[in-house]
Symmetry: D2
Subunit: 336 residues, 4 copies
């Protein structure tokens, strides 16, 4: 049994705890830490069978029984905690993004390499059944050479404006998953980015210095072109689709729904809306990425989403932001 | 050019006139007759370029230039007019049903055979693109041996009660197309029928001695089982679907719609309703059956829907009615 | 925590153990029994955290700590064990069918009533997300009065011939779920059954005295008509669909698939096959029925699938078998 | 009856002749001209009932009985012939693009205005049932404010390399329809274009100075963002889809197919490929645009696709080409 410590008991930390306790084989959570330990957190931890709840994450790092840590704390602490964890010899699952600063990410990756610990980044969508089905068609050669990779990624509603202000901007907070998806589906690296953005959902978002709508074009090393469209608010629910088009064919996915029921009436033929948001849509993928992380520790195999997979989307996000600001395509070599 | 006379200028007579004048190659309409010739009919005929409009259909039969007639008059006149037409040496396209009396149908077929003229029955749905696509899968062997043949056939609304009273009953008026479809898709003959019926749409229909809802099970000579479900009223439009299931796979069709547009909003994901009724859904099939009839005359080849194809569905309808009345399965040999 | 004993460690017993240990809140398995206790069973039980493994199910019935039992033993023992369990004051989850003999079922229900214990029958498909979505449309009134209820239920492959011989026949083994589904979706009782059956998949099945293909028509107390089509072998996978058509509209479900991916290539536009069989398709429903059973014990509320829900499908199956044998529709009052 | 002269008897000229003779009410073709009048052309014209076939299109312009001309000659002659036709007082239906030179287009539009004749440009896709269904949702307000407009437009195969060399480039030859579609669906003007292009289908196309794959981002005056993806070769057929996403919902269309048949077998669940190419997919839209042109003459109403609708897509194509060449977004004001 791999013993796990979770650093950060916010939403995503609890999602991983839920996965580990219910769905994941071969691992158990020994401790969880959070800067604020409430009674609610204690009783929640007890209900999940987590023996220890700490305010200080150092207690997790210092526990020799703990094999691996999940870094689920606030984004600005991902890098320093990962470095400490690596030095403590813990395997690391780090939530995305590792950091918004490229040098700090590189420092993390260097420390991880030096320590020889496993390091996996939380791009859970790679484990989604639909996107995996696309990837399998690409890898099998059914698509031939990829020519166009399209990702549609629209949230059901904009986050609170206070969150927007500290989110690092839409490209770092939301599109970063789509940047990863373009790399994952294409099997190639992004070389240039052009981002077109707008404030159409809520002018408050614009006043906070961010955008809520975007179309981003990405040139890939293999010659293919990627394109992402984003919105912070799709009134019909979480819209998460992708398509890879190539020399031998195309593969695309639709949204998941709670059921396949279709109702025919005088008003039309009505199917269900997409699953509401990421917890509904991607719950199984959270479990699967965790299972995969545990397996890489147990079998001493490379993680499915490695350090470079954590670095590249941040570079793309930086290039996208610069492209938006300067109104021109930006090469990744400009920001690497 | 094949010269055509149309006997009966009601709805279906005009549908065929429209097809012939707009879509069908190699034929022209020389005359149309109707028991009532109104000014409206005359001007309609002029607009379609039909030179002659008669009250007496005999003028059509007596015109030596006319090669073929379409028998589109009231159902009870189909048989006698077809016999006269055969004796006059005209090729015959006869609307369904030929008659509700088996002996009279057999008499028509005997006269047609004696005269050596072409005879096609108006089961236009065999020419529908969707049902043809099913048939092609069956004929190609993709389905293997057919095991279950399903037909869903629901009208958008019940006909006027005065029509119901003279319609001959739902099995003869509406289901007769589905009986033909079961034979067409299965490539086999019906041997036994069990009909379950109900009055659920409109009690007036029940008072008129008819039903408005039915499920009919049919045993086929090749061992397969057919099943039809009917309703006189589907509030969402004309529901016309079929499926053939067999040892190697299944093929099924959906309804046609005016467009493929799908609207996603807070209320759901809304596609269009099926095309409203048979003129919208089956217009192309009316043109194609007519083209096929003309081709059989020009090339002296068998018609696509022959006399036996006109007889069998009537036998099935008779058996279905008896099954409904007597509450038991009825063999076709009992009514043939 | 409700303490559970599982009687019978075959496939379905293990499915429930899996559900209880992984997905169900508020219950724990204290013991499992089987007529044959192998080393494999012992180690499997240990891996699920089940403390006790018995050869004799009486040890479960005699354990005062055990609140409820799952009767997952061979079909012919469902009734006697349920009676013993009721007399021992245990709540009972009984796999379907309770028995093939109506009098024995009635005896079970009488004992359950006398003991005042909960009794739920294993019609898990009522908990399936798709069929629940249909049911919700019916209950909400969106369908209006139900007119036609259709169930398509086809297995991916026929069971071994040795199983067929002891299965009690297709209607008791396979269609019994569909009989329950017709009752569940229509909210009405079946009054008459007409079954048309054939041996088209495998002549061995016919030699064993069973059929492998069927279409069954059911008259319902509310006037609606139900129709089921069955096959023991759909080469494309487990085909599980239903439709309710009524005065205000219709609702239908498609099959579930592993992903929504659609591959377009020179050969066509290819979607995934249905999930392979009942474990893949209905796993969540097994968990949900178990959760529901636990909830009815904890909250002292009626079970979702009660004794009469266990009895009626058996009556329908008996009527269907008689209909098939005698070639006539059979009223349920003849067999009740 | 409006009397029509067709200038240019190539593929598109004959498509319009076919539409006019079969589907369009209130018009007849009096003459057709082509620089090469073969026997085949004469006999084809006779079969369509076209009385006159000329080498010199001036005979059409000089015929006082002819009300309107269709300019279907080679692209470089569209502008001068349109100008001559306007001066001759003929109503003009001009195939797209009017010209690749903005000044010449403006000259055409000025002459048309001076002559007071009708002028319609051949953007037939506006008359396609699917795109009209999107437009209706937009116009009705169901989408709210448009935020993202997506057009997928992929041909089934690349044209011959000799054609590519004289085509004016993919943006003028193929994408020009998509530029029009973005304007039509959004109801707004394009203000800036960024084009990313690649040669992935056939290196010969690259050697001819053209591209075969592109993603184009368009900023619109109403703040929305448009995005087009193009390929010269989709092996599965003609891929023509669009989506408008806005504040109240989204609407999207799928491809048309010859039938709705879906075949389920061991290999998967297989639907039909899209209709093969533009003649199959857009035939009805060619008839409808022609009917609309005739109606605007008869009723003296504005044409549905006016001179500015002909000019704007050319401006966008010029900007797209410059964007591709210079690797930067280009404002329409730079090229207007």
């Amino acid at each position: 049994m791999i013993k796990i410590g979770i650093i950060g008991a916010g939403r995503i930390g609890r999602v991983h705890a839920e996965s580990l306790s219910k769905y994941v084989q071969g691992a158990e959570i020994k401790a969880i830490s959070d800067v604020k330990v409430s009674d609610e957190l204690k009783s929640w931890a007890a209900s999940k069978g987590i023996p220890h709840v700490y305010t200080d994450y150092q207690k997790i790092l210092q526990d020799p029984e703990i094999d691996a840590v999940l870094v689920c704390s606030s984004t600005n602490t991902h890098a320093p905690i990962s470095i400490e964890a690596a030095r403590a010899g813990k395997h690391i699952f780090c939530e995305k993004p590792i950091d918004s600063d490229v040098e700090r990410i590189k420092q993390v990756l260097a420390e991880v390499e030096k320590a020889g610990v496993k390091f996996q980044v939380g791009f859970n969508r790679r484990f989604d059944h639909n996107f995996k089905a696309i990837k399998e068609r690409v890898v099998s050669g059914d698509i031939g050479e990829p020519h166009i990779i399209r990702v549609t990624s629209r949230d059901p509603d904009a986050p609170p404006i206070d969150y927007v202000k500290v989110s690092g901007g839409m490209f770092f907070d939301m599109t970063i998953h789509d940047f990863d998806m373009i790399r994952y589906l294409s099997g190639s690296e992004v070389t240039e980015v052009y981002a077109s953005g707008a404030v159409l959902v809520d002018p408050e978002i614009g006043r906070a210095g961010d955008i809520d709508t975007a179309v981003i074009t990405l040139k890939l090393a293999n010659g293919a072109i990627g394109v992402i469209d984003n919105s912070r608010k799709a009134v019909y629910g979480y819209d998460q689709r992708a398509e890879v088009f190539g020399s031998k064919g195309a593969v695309q996915t639709r949204n998941d729904t709670d059921s396949t029921a279709v109702y025919s009436c005088e008003r039309g033929v009505i199917a269900e809306k997409p699953k509401y948001f990421f917890l509904e849509r991607y719950m199984q993928s959270f479990a699967d990425e965790m299972q995969c992380f545990i397996a890489s520790i147990v079998n001493d195999t490379p993680t499915a989403v490695n350090g470079n997979d954590g670095l590249q989307p941040v570079l793309i996000a930086i290039a996208a932001k610069r492209s938006l600001d300067e109104g021109r395509p930006v090469k990744l070599s400009e920001v690497a």
